[in-house]
């Protein structure tokens, strides 16, 4: 919408909440460069020890699937119930397999 670009670029912030877990998207922020984005990511999103690691990536570098194609794109998996373990009926004695 804005034509004049005075503001710092937008970054997406991902935080690993504790060792062993994956990084999870938690929001975005404006920062002049990567170093500042990491530092602000810490200040804005981990004020209560919510994280042990922060990733940042420029928002304009993210490539996403088209939400308009959601059905066409993801529904083909819908009728493939045989990909789930519950599809298979086994004797009671083996049901924990």
């Amino acid at each position: 919408m804005s034509t004049v670009q005075n503001e710092w670029p937008l970054w997406e912030v991902f935080v690993r909440s504790k060792a062993g877990l994956d990084h999870k998207h938690c929001g975005s922020l404006h920062a002049a460069d990567a170093k500042m984005a990491i530092q602000m990511g810490r200040d804005v999103y981990t004020r209560r020890q919510e994280g042990v690691s922060v990733w940042v990536v420029r928002s304009d570098q993210i490539v996403a699937s088209d939400p308009g194609d959601k059905a066409m794109y993801f529904d083909p998996a819908e009728d493939k119930v045989y990909r789930h373990p519950t599809f298979y009926e086994l004797p009671k004695s083996l049901d924990h397999m």
Binding site: M1, S2, V4, N6, E7, W8, L10, C26, G27, S28, L29, H30, A32, D33, M36, D43, V44, R47, R48, A64, D66, P67, G68
Partner: protein, 333 residues
């Protein structure tokens, strides 16, 4: 810290008649998703009026968080103990953080941060009128936490289920952090009421007397004077009506006031056995409208402080960007 029901203030034009069959179909699909309780994400199709309503509400909410830092910032250097100073600093920092989450949510709808700031700084955008009242004594800090943040939480919890997902996600984060704001306020007042001198106790009562009415105005005009509420309810932006939230807040606060040992400045406030709720006196909506329109005790001061902070920081923002560009060029070379 939130804001009164801001969705009642906008002057958006009525939604335009639909242009094409394709758009009618998109609209139909959108309505069905709302009815099914689905969340709407940033890149999903949405009616223009839905987008505008959200940009207005979310940005006004963000502005309120940012301007809300000012009345409390006023007391950081004068907090009575190091503990209270650390708590107040953490709270004010939280408000700044909440503003940032919300600006980011508004930006997903296509508004730029510069546009949003510009609307605030030129007085085009509103923020919660509660912040146009002065913070006269230390007891105001506790009272803001107890009443203003208390009302804010009551307002905000239903927005965690807002149909627009980026807003809902920001609200979940905010509500999780906000609970400490109300508790620290009540505890600060309880300390003064339990261990304080008579003068300190009187200070608490004075603060409660000044903040009570503005606090219950935060829920916005009565339901029959909230023309946009029905549309916001239809869209799942608003989940609970202004009057219902206000009643819930008053009912919860009466017992807390008793525990604290303060009175609430409303002679008509009494339990109604038949309604199983408290009746309360008439709210002076002319004051609400006056403060919102710009004629409150601190409107000019608040906006001037905000604009000054922004202008004084311009060289820092420019220098940081220039440095980043220079480093990027060096790397490229």
């Amino acid at each position: 810290m939130y804001t009164q029901a801001m969705d009642t203030i906008g002057k958006d034009e009525a939604p335009k008649a639909l242009r094409s069959a394709e758009e009618a179909q998109l609209q139909e699909r959108f309505d069905a998703r709302i009815d099914a309780g689905d969340f709407i994400e940033a890149k999903d199709w949405m009616p223009e009026h839905y987008r505008k309503t959200l940009v207005r509400q979310i940005s006004q909410h963000a502005h309120s968080e940012i301007v809300g830092m000012l009345p409390e910032g006023n007391w950081i250097s004068r907090a009575p103990t190091l503990k209270r100073k650390a708590i107040l600093l953490a709270k004010v920092q939280d408000e700044g953080g909440h503003g940032l989450y919300l600006y980011a949510a508004a930006e997903t709808l296509g508004a730029s941060r510069d546009q949003l700031f510009d609307a605030l700084h030129t007085g085009k955008a509103k923020y919660s009128s509660i912040f146009n009242y002065p913070t006269l004594s230390w007891a105001d800090m506790g009272t803001i936490g107890w009443l203003v943040d208390g009302a804010a939480i009551m307002n905000q919890v239903p927005i965690c289920r807002c149909s627009y997902a980026p807003y809902a996600r920001a609200m979940i984060r905010i509500c999780r952090e906000e609970s400490f704001h109300q508790r620290q306020g009540f505890e600060a007042l309880l300390t003064m009421m339990t261990h304080g001198t008579e003068a300190q106790k009187a200070m608490v009562q004075d603060a409660v007397n000044r903040w009570w009415w503005p606090s219950i105005m935060m829920f916005g005009p009565p339901d029959d004077e909230s023309p946009n509420s029905a549309q916001s309810m239809r869209w799942g932006i608003k989940r609970v009506s202004n009057d219902e939230l206000r009643q819930k807040f008053i009912d919860a606060t009466v017992d807390q006031a008793k525990l604290l040992g303060v009175s609430l400045p409303d002679p008509d406030l009494k339990w109604n056995e038949a309604r199983q709720s408290h009746d309360f006196g008439t709210i002076d909506w002319s004051e609400f409208k006056r403060v919102l329109a710009g004629d409150g005790p601190c409107n000019k001061e608040r906006l001037a402080a905000r604009v000054k902070a922004w202008d004084d920081g311009a060289w820092v923002r420019e220098a940081a960007m220039a440095h980043a560009n220079k480093q990027a060029m060096k790397e490229a070379a």
